[in-house]
């Protein structure tokens, strides 16, 4: 046994022991999340368990739609009554840290994160080497396809290359039934950009290299071309891909009702698919991202979420918040050595990132749906977390959607997206 797991065990136990000390004064810690009601109920149950040993601390959970999360955080952080703990997307961290909205983790919590999470995940929760939060979920993308529709179209196996992917999309298309081969998302920035970035990574490219956008590279141009080809052939129908603020809407409806043959989507959609499909969820299979002509293998992009503590909270609130997070993400709060956070993430089909959680859920992660995502993790490319990342993402979203709706050609979109991205990242770094 190396010293690393021992250190993790020691830190975890020490923090867990410390967390059971009763608080001298009453503190209310608010926890802002975008999770759905059933998950919020699980979080509240975990908070109630924590409160039994910490009678002076009350964890108050607030939930908003995903589309409102960043706005709520930015408009309320540091204000009286603002959230003490917030679940955030790693792309937002650099700007939140720059604006001093998030509290640097105390030494014990920082060491806990550095020791008990994979290095790449801990780095995504850090800015300039300072840890700002507890990582929780990690998300990757894979090809989801409807086996029943594949069978009807005479397709034997999931496409491995772009050529096979395009051919499958065409075969799956049935205009008389209102059925499209491949579903593209619109009106949701991450939902538009992440599948595109995964196809780009599987074509040997990247959105940003060393802080410089690469959207007019040959690899990126080929990805825009693929989108254009799918749209022009009718194998993708742009109007079938609209998403709303809750990341549901026609895009989800069309896939769960069997009107879309394939999508590229993240693992956390498992719960939405199960809810929408019921027993028909068994028709859905997962496969690696198809590889482009310039690619060396399937690569998803990955991104993570973390819980951060507001820098504007009072010292007592911050102390209580970090203590709760150490317990909530620690190995004693869940079942069979898993953390309560791990239990909660697994209930949504989300991959936990804590090393001990991955071990605790090893059997659960072997389900046909999730196994495809777990196998994608090792070859995943992290989504670039740079200053101006949100604006960069929204700008790229606009150009991808312009190709989807025939407002720009693939070549125009690549050139315009690159010009915009250069200006956005330059301005953000000033």
């Amino acid at each position: 046994m190396t010293i690393r797991p021992l250190m993790g065990l020691f830190l975890g136990s020490a923090l867990a022991a410390f967390s059971s000390v009763a608080w001298a004064e009453d503190v209310t810690v608010s926890f802002l999340t975008h999770w759905p009601p059933e998950t919020v109920a699980k979080l509240e149950a975990a908070a109630a368990t924590y409160a039994k040993d910490h009678p002076g601390v009350k964890i108050d959970v607030r939930a908003v739609p995903f589309g409102d999360l960043l706005t709520t955080l930015r408009s309320q952080a540091g204000q009286a009554g603002g959230p003490t703990i917030t679940g955030i997307y790693d792309l937002w961290l650099p700007e939140l840290a720059r604006d001093k909205l998030v509290n640097a983790a105390p030494a014990a919590n920082s060491a806990d994160v550095s020791t008990n999470w994979p290095k790449g995940v801990a780095t995504a929760a850090s800015v300039g080497g300072t840890v700002y939060g507890y990582p929780n979920e990690i998300d990757v993308y894979a090809l989801n396809y409807n086996k029943k529709l594949f069978e009807e179209a005479g397709i034997k196996e999931a496409p491995k290359t772009w050529d096979e992917f395009y051919a499958a999309a065409e075969k799956l298309t049935n205009k008389d039934k209102g059925q499209q081969g491949f579903g593209m998302i619109n009106s949701w920035a991450a939902g538009v950009v992440h599948p595109f970035a995964s196809l780009l990574a599987s074509n040997g490219g990247a959105l940003v290299v060393d802080g410089k956008p690469q959207l007019d590279s040959d690899n990126a141009k080929a990805t825009f071309d693929l989108y254009e080809k799918l749209i022009k052939s009718g194998a993708s129908v742009a109007t079938m891909g609209t998403a709303d603020a809750n990341t549901t809407g026609p895009f989800l409806d069309n896939f769960v009702s069997g009107k879309t043959g394939m999508i590229i989507m993240a693992n956390w959609w498992e719960s939405a698919l199960k809810a929408g499909m019921g027993e028909r969820f068994a028709d859905i299979a997962t496969a690696p991202i198809p590889v482009g002509p310039k690619g060396d293998g399937p690569h998803s992009i990955s991104y993570s979420w973390m819980t951060v503590v507001s820098d504007g909270a009072s010292d007592a609130e911050k102390k209580a918040a970090w203590d709760f997070l150490a317990w909530f993400n620690g190995p004693t709060s869940g079942e069979n050595g898993a953390s309560a956070m791990g239990d909660l993430l697994q209930s949504m089909g989300i991959l936990p990132s804590r090393t001990s959680d991955v071990a605790a859920f090893s059997e659960r992660l072997k389900t046909p749906f999730l196994a495809g995502y777990v196998s994608a993790l090792s070859e995943a490319r992290p989504f670039p977390t740079v200053l101006g990342g949100q604006e960069f993402t929204e700008s790229l979203q606009g150009h991808i959607e312009a190709v989807q709706f025939g407002k720009e050609t693939a070549a125009e979109a690549a050139a315009a997206a690159q010009a915009d991205a250069v200006a956005i990242l330059e301005k953000a770094s000033q």
């Binding site: 619109n186 009106s187 109007t239 709303d244 409806d253 989807q404 915009d420």
Partner: protein
């Protein structure tokens, strides 16, 4: 200062003080911030004066300028379409309900006004399902008469119109009540005199009702314009400004820039521009109306 003047100052001070604190100070602050580079997450003291740079950027050729001009155009189009539909419909419904002999006029009035009382969040969520291209009831009904399916919120060509229709559905009841109030102010004796001179339906409407409703219509148009410019909820809840920015209206865009991206200076410049555009438009509408009256 005389005692009378002092008492005026003392009596006006509370209300003027409140106006200053809650209206003038925020507006002045926004105007000042429009000329600065400022992250909306940092104290005002961190704002750096940069002159007209924010205005150059929002009217420039870059992505910021393109998105801003797109949002401004979408807002103008949304406002024009809303007013163009709301005013004629409210006059039509107002005339219908105002007819004393119409059975169920009170019920119709209640139903129309009820739409205005439903929270926009509920309206937006229900309409997002009604508009669903594949499973929405609207397309199913249109399908019975051989129309469609229409993409509604899912296409950049129809999304803004779909949001306008949602707005019209919700607001028309309120404006109908305003029109009825205007109609009740028109003396019946004028209609009787006109009828004695041989005027009938369309002539009565064109030469008496419409001219005498002018002030009500002007007021309604201004209120409808202000309401339309402030549209936010249906966009935030249902379309997120998409597809391809086709429903990205000013309030939603300012929130995205000023709050989500924390670019407070740019967001303030956009807000000031929107305020100026609104003031100029409303002033122009009143000036036109005054010129018409003088004729």
């Amino acid at each position: 200062m005389t005692g009378f003047r002092k008492s005026i100052v003392v009596m006006l001070a509370p209300s003027l003080g409140l106006i200053a604190v809650f209206i003038l100070v925020p507006i002045t602050l926004t105007i000042w911030l429009a000329f600065t580079k400022w992250s909306s997450q940092t104290p005002f003291a961190t704002a750096t004066f940069i002159g007209l740079d924010n205005f150059r950027e929002i009217f420039g050729p870059g992505s910021v300028g393109r998105d801003f001009k797109g949002a401004l155009a979408n807002t103008a189009l949304y406002s024009l379409m809303s007013i163009a539909l709301i005013l004629p419909l409210s006059v039509l419904f107002g005339m219908l309900i105002h007819q004393a002999e119409l059975k169920g006029a009170n019920l119709l009035r209640t139903i129309l006004f009820a739409t205005y009382m439903v929270p926009m969040i509920a309206v937006a969520l229900v309409f997002s399902k009604l508009y669903s291209p594949s499973e929405g009831p609207i397309n199913q009904i249109l399908g019975w008469v051989g129309i469609g399916p229409l993409p509604w919120l899912s296409s950049p060509d129809t999304a803004l119109v779909s949001v306008v229709l949602l707005n019209v559905w919700q607001q028309v009841g309120y404006f109908t009540i305003l029109i009825i109030a205007g109609l009740t102010q028109i003396p019946q004796s004028i209609y009787e005199a006109a009828r004695m001179d041989g005027a009938r339906g369309p002539a009565l409407f064109g030469f008496i009702t419409l001219p005498l409703l002018k002030r009500t219509l002007l007021f309604s148009a201004v209120i409808a314009l202000i309401n339309a410019v402030q549209v936010f909820e249906p966009v935030a809840l249902v379309t997120q400004g998409g597809p391809v920015g086709s429903t990205n209206v000013m309030t939603y865009h300012i929130r995205r820039v000023g709050i989500e991206r924390a670019q407070g200076g740019l967001g303030s410049a956009m807000s000031v521009t929107l305020l100026l555009a609104l003031v100029v438009t409303v002033t122009a509408v009143f000036a036109l109306a005054r010129r018409e009256e003088r004729r």
